[in-house]
Every structure is written in structure tokens, then in C-alpha cells.
Amino acid sequence: MRLQAVGVRLGYGDRVIVDGLDLGIEAGTVTTIIGPNGCGKSTLLRALGRLLKPSGGEVLLDGKRIDRMPTKEVARILGVLPQAPTAPEGLTVADLVARGRHPHQTWYRQWSSGDEAAVGEALAMTGLDGLGERPLDELSGGQRQRAWISMALAQGTDLLLLDEPTTFLDLAHQVEVLELVRRLHGEHGRTVVMVLHDLNLAARYADRLVAMRAGRVIAAGTPHEVLTEPLLAEVFDLEAKVIEDPVAGTPLVVPVGVRH
């Protein structure tokens, strides 16, 4: 088990969003968390990435309590891409991706040849060759999202948490980003946990789905096990037909209407 939430209670201030939740992420899997707006999926992801401290329970990274590990050490094991991240104005792609090396640097080792190679590799992997010197704000939405993923890759971790990496992207760009995630998993054996809204893409690109509602895990398993008509009704109040995706053979959700 790479990453584990044990009885975590999560919230902001006095507002509890998730209470007593258990979840385990196995090595080498792509896990996608799905659920309606406000169900706590992003909150859970933030807790797994130690961006949010649980008020109860614990998060374990490779069996150790994540809040007791030095945060810089965690950053060398686990990379997080927050939801809709913002960068300072005028920053270039190379400067952004170079930030990913921060956990490996000290005041006397600010930019080693290893750092440079890792950034160059991350840029190449995300298809940003030749765009390094371009300001981030001049890129298309898809390119910008790939630049952020590239930063997380430059961090050199084999565990990646991505919070809605496809938000605000058109379908082609969504597929582009998810193909990249699949490559990272398939070729480099990375463990990926992400939050997605599109159920059909989630089914196609994840080997494990976790369905949440109101702060609880309702179902977890393969896309075939999780994406069933009764579960869609329970989790999303959605009446839908589930058929086979003619391309990938994964479940395909065809909405009928919202149940009242």
C-alpha cells in the first residue's frame, strides 16, 4: 500500500466534510476518485497529499505517518498538482518546471546538472520541447496544463496526485492530458491518484475507481464493478444506461435524466 487514509476526519474550520474515511492506494495503479460536487473528493486528495491536515485519523505514506515526515522528504516521494493552480505573471515554462526541483535543492546546490536533466526530461515527456522559454500565459489551456504536470514530473516522484487535471479543457485536450497520465503509468510505472468529473474518461483511463458521496466512499473497484446503473443512481441521483465503450470496452455512461 503506497498511500493510505485511516479513519480520517477532514474539514475546514468547524465544517466537517469527510469523517472516518478509509482508503488504500496500491502501488502501480491509476486510481480515479469520482463523485458529485462537494462530496469531498478534492478534500480527500488534499489530505492524501498532506496539503490538509486531518483533524482525526491519519494518512500513511509507505506505512509512515505523512504528517510526521519532513515535508521536503515527502515532496521527493509524492508530487501534487493542486486544482486550478496559479503562477506569477510572466513566468516562463522552463522556470515553472524548474520549480519542481525545489525539494532536491539546497542553498549550495541550486541547479545541478541532475536538476537540469530532470527538467529537460519532464519537458520532453509532456511534449513541451521548444516551448521552455515561452511565458506560461501565452500557452493554450492544454499546453499550460501539461506544463503544470511537467512541473510535478520534474519533481521526480513515482507517486502523483492530480486534482482535476482536465478542468477547463476541451475534449481533445482532456484526452491529451489523460493519454499522458496513461503513459506515465504504463511506461514509468508511476502510481497516480486523480480526481475527474467525466465518468467515461475516468472509466477509460483508470484501473480503479473510487465513488464518493457526502464524504463517504460508496464503492471502490474496477470501472466495471463501480460504474453500474444502481450505483450511478445512488451516488449522482442520475438515471443512466451503462453500455460498453465501443473503443476501449470500458463502461460508458449514457445519461437518461436526473432522479427527483
Partner: protein, 374 residues
Amino acid sequence: MTSPPIPSPHPEGVPPVTPVPVRLAHERPLRLGPASWLLRLRSAAAALVLLAAAVLLMALNMRLGDIPMSVAEVFRAVTGDGPDHFVVMELRLPRALTGVLVGAALALAGAITQAIARNPLASPDVLGVTTGSSVAVVGIIVTAGSAAGGAGGALASVGVPLVALAGGLAGALAVYLLAWRGGLDGYRLVLVGVGVSAVFTNVKYWLLTVGDVTDSGRAMVWISGSLNGRGWEHVVPVAIALAVLVPAALAGTRSLGALRFGDDTVTGLGVRTNLARGLLILAAVLLAAVATAAAGPIAFVALASPQIALRVAGVAQPPLVVSALCGAVLVTAADLAARTVAAPAELPVGVVTAVLGAPYLIYLLVRARRGARA
């Protein structure tokens, strides 16, 4: 818990990734064995030019006084022990050095504050330091005025700076406590700071109106910021503060650079966000408080120097060293102007910086509005 593996698009094996060459926007690497640093050549050049300008302006400033001298005579008096040695070393050099150090400290405080607040309009005023000092000093002069007037120089040289320091730190603490909410958010800090500063400023004016006319007059000179009669007893505390806090601030530069991003991104990169931000703000508060204690709240230096510095250095975030040198040049140049414009009368240096500051502030606001519309 087993699941079918995702089919790899490359069943025959993973194709190697060829890293692309990486060129950072402003920095060039310097590598010595396992150690490596990032250099900013333009910033380094700018720093050298500003340092030379500061020394030259100091020399020009030290010509002025009861015995006018040439720049050459000033240098001779500093190095040798001619008849002017005492005047230059005991009166003119400490005054000029106070200007340089106070300018550097204020500018550094401003650069840190602006970087953390992610706002070019932020300055140590926003941290409650300068306004806190002003209220405390005006309060002590106005309430203990006649008694303190008897004490004369002793109060002015020791009492007032101590009161200013305490007031500045108390003001900062008030802002910090009001802004803290399970963490320190830059935007919230600015809003709380502006509010607290407004309250302090109004208390200050109230104290000035209820105070005795002569006391209020003396208080006014202090709160406009002046280098008049500053000696080694003013230089030493600021020098010590800079000697400790400049290395501390420079050590935090990398975290400061990271703090320009959203908190989640920064935390994800392994920065202890609240700790780094807290320490950097503490450094800014101490720098501003010590500088204000030495020369009063010299307006506009902390606000403008970082913005001038980032344009000179061609970078996106106020560079610390270049900002500090800009502040030193700015205060020294303003003091030179303050002493020559209405000669033989001397204006407080803060009057000159305030006159320069008003149009600059309007320019910043207009630019910010344009930016918002675009």
C-alpha cells in the same frame, strides 16, 4: 483488489525520452563540483552600479555642513587625519551611513512584504510597523512633552528610538494577531494591515491635536522622517540588525520565490509554507522597526525601492539585494536634495521622499487599474 493492467501503447518496450535543453529566463548556472548556484547577471551588474552610486552620493552629501568641503577633501578626511577628520568621522559619516542603512533596511522590508502579499502596493505600513512607531513616539512626546523637553538630548537619542521600536513591534503584533486564521494569507494580511494602519494614523492625528503646540511640532519633525543630527548611536543598531537579518532574508530567498505560487503548490513542493512566511515577515518587521527607530518613518522608500529594483534587474519579483541598494541610493539622494533645495535651511528627508512618492503612488494605482481592465 486486482485490476487489469492498462495496455501499454509500447508493448515492445519503453522508448527513451531525450531531454531537451533547458534555459531559465533570468538565471545562469555556476557549477563547482557537486555545488551549484544560479546567478542573475543583470542583477549583479545593477547591484554594482547602485553600490557605486550610493558611495558617490554619500560623498556628495558629506560635503555639506558648516564647513563646506570638496569630494576630494571628504575622502582625504575619511582616510587621513587632517583638521576635518573629527567633523567628518563623528558628524557627517554617521549621518550619511544612517541614511544608507535605513534606506537599505526599509527597502528590504518592502521587498519581502510585497513578495509575500503578492502586491506592489504593500509596504511595512501594511504590517503595522511604521504607523505603530509613529503613534508611540507622538504619544510619548505629547504626553511626556514638557518633562521630556527638560531631559533634552538624552530622550531624543535613546528614549525616542526605543519607544519607536516598541511601538513598531506592537503594531506588527496587532496586525499579525488580527490577520492570523490558522495560517497567514497574504491578501488578508494586507486588508487587516490597511485597517489597523488607518486606526493608528487617526490616533496619531488626535494626539497631535490635543498635544501642546511645541511638542506637536517636535513630533511632526520625527514622524516625517529625518536624518538630522544622526550619529553612531543610530548607525550601530541598524548595522547590527542588517548584519543579522540580511543573511537570514537571503537564506529565505528560495522559499520567497516559491511563495509566489498558490499555497497548495508551495506546500506540495516541500516548503513549510506558514513557517517560511512567518520568518520572512518577522525579518521584514524587525528591519522596518529598527530603521524607523533610527530615522523616523521615511515615507515611500519601502514602497518604491522594490518596484524600481525589479525593473532595473528585469525580473518579476523584487530582488532583495538590488532593492536594498535602491533604498540606500534613494534615501541618500533624497537627503542630498533635502539639504540643498532650501539651503541653508534643511528639510526632513521624509518630506522629499513623500513629494516624490505621491506621484509614483498615483502612477502605480493607474497602472494597476489598467491591468485590471485589460
